[in-house]
Amino acid sequence: MKAGPLQVNRLEKVFHSKLGFSRFTAVDSVSFQISSGEILGFLGPNGAGKTTTIKCVLGLLNPTSGSVSIWGEPPGSGIVRKRIGYVPENPDYEEIFTPMELMSMFASMRGLGNSPGESMELLSRVGLSGWETVRMKNFSKGMRQRVSLALALQSAPDMLIMDEPTGGLDPTARKEFRDIILEENHRGATVFLSSHLLSEVETICHRAVILSRGRKVAEGDMDELLRTEDRFLVSYLPAEAVNSDEADEIEVSGEALQSAIDRLRGEDARIMRVIPSYRSLEEVFLTATGNGEQ
């Protein structure tokens, strides 16, 4: 993988009350980066600071301290805006326009020469065939999400920033969205995906960052995060069942692994495989955010 296009360095965002008597730290010294071509899952419970971080990355919020750079440029710069696509959480567009009109106006504002044919094709790709000329006021939340995705894909962006993109979608639509994200990633786009749906992140992300109460509490490759620290699964066929297909399994610590294997061999069991033990992302998430005991 090439050098990271997005660098977030000790980002802090503090919100003050209107009269300045109280303050709330939404993001507290968060650092991470995204490598080129990867899909980064951005996780955290409600109020963890995910959306605030994303808005700082997009230049919608001014960081209190720390820095964000995208391809070495500050957020919100013209070069950056040309190369990214953004799918907001609960997207809203002016209700009096149709998806085709929005596609045409956004293309023009971005300096793209998108033809009506291309717009129709893109709207069809996100599942909006037949809805191209219907005003947005008639659209459900899920349909607005689809319009939002079409607008984000319009420029074939180098980076897709998605804030809960599948929030209002049914399972079929979620699958379609996932497929599109993977297609875009295969095309070469880097994806920064904030999601509550852990199964979704576990399925498609290469790496994840977990936030809790504004702080980063875990980060790593998916494999690294899910692997149980120093725990192994040993599959074996007991001596009395060596001709059977049904293997037994024991989970042991790294320290006890050698003696467990020796013991099984001593019992004439056949060792089938020894693999690192994995947890579900939900377990990782709950442990990292301090809710594991609940």
Binding site: L60, Y86, P88, Y93, F97, M109, L151
Partner: protein, 251 residues
């Protein structure tokens, strides 16, 4: 430039589809019908009266249009979060401001021109002469309207719409005051008040209804200087508005 033009067009279409323009047209029509009733009251110097009253209506119209068109644009965009996808990707904050401003300015200018044409029609229908300076006077009112729009945008970035309107009206009133009138507001600090008056806008330069109604000629250079003054102050207000907007967090 292209993003600004497209966004201005989008703003214009939005204002048209929201029926804002139709509301404005009805108000203009009612005002013109009202002015058209003047001859029925048998006042002396009818032509002068119609002109005076009509241009005063347009002055007031420029103020109300600025408040009506612009005070809720940015707060509505924020409240409905339609601003997020715009500022995040296709538009810079400057382009957003200029696009919204240009769209609203087009609607406002068209409305003032329509009012001016209506006033001209009333004069002609009642057998009065249309003064040559009527359209330049309307042009000055359009420039004043643009300036007021810039003021409304500036206020909208740091106040709520209910506060925006009185602040704009207050500035409109204060900017009509003469130096002596302004000093009279705080006679204990005349130097401060004179300096403040110098810095605050002089919107009285855009109001030439009295000389026109009295048939006086306005020198061409006056129009040029008034337009340059108005556009310069408008550019200054937009620059200040943008500086405030850039500091705003879009939560």
């Amino acid at each position: 430039m292209r993003p600004v033009v497209t966004f201005a067009h989008m703003t214009l279409r939005s204002l048209v589809r929201r029926r804002t323009i139709w509301g404005i047209s009805i108000v203009i029509l009612i005002a013109l019908v009202g002015i058209g009733q003047i001859p029925g009251y048998g006042v002396s110097n009818q032509g002068r009266f119609i002109l005076d009253f009509g241009l005063f209506g347009l002055e007031l119209g420029a103020l109300l249009l600025a408040i009506g068109l612009a005070s809720s644009i940015y707060p509505r965009d924020r409240e409905r979060r339609t601003i997020m996808p715009l500022i995040a990707v296709p538009l810079s904050r400057g382009q957003y401001l200029m696009g919204r401003f240009t769209g609203a300015a087009l609607v406002q200018s068209a409305s003032i021109l329509t009012g001016c044409v209506g006033l001209m029609a009333i004069l002609v229908l009642n057998g009065h002469q249309v003064p040559a300076d009527l359209f330049p006077a309307a042009a000055l009112l359009i420039v004043e309207g643009w300036f007021l729009l810039a003021v409304v945008f500036f206020f909208s970035f740091w106040t709520s719409p209910p506060l925006n309107a009185p602040l704009t009206v207050l500035l409109f009133i204060v900017s009509q005051l003469s130096v002596s009138g302004f000093v009279a507001l705080l006679p204990s600090a005349p130097a401060l008040m004179r300096t403040l008056r110098l810095l605050l806008p002089h919107m009285d330069v855009f109001h030439i209804k009295d000389p026109i109604a009295h048939g006086l000629d306005i020198p061409g250079i006056y129009f040029v200087l008034a337009v340059v003054y108005g556009l310069s102050y408008m550019a200054f207000m937009l620059a200040v508005a943008l500086a405030v907007f850039r500091k705003r967090d879009l939560k």
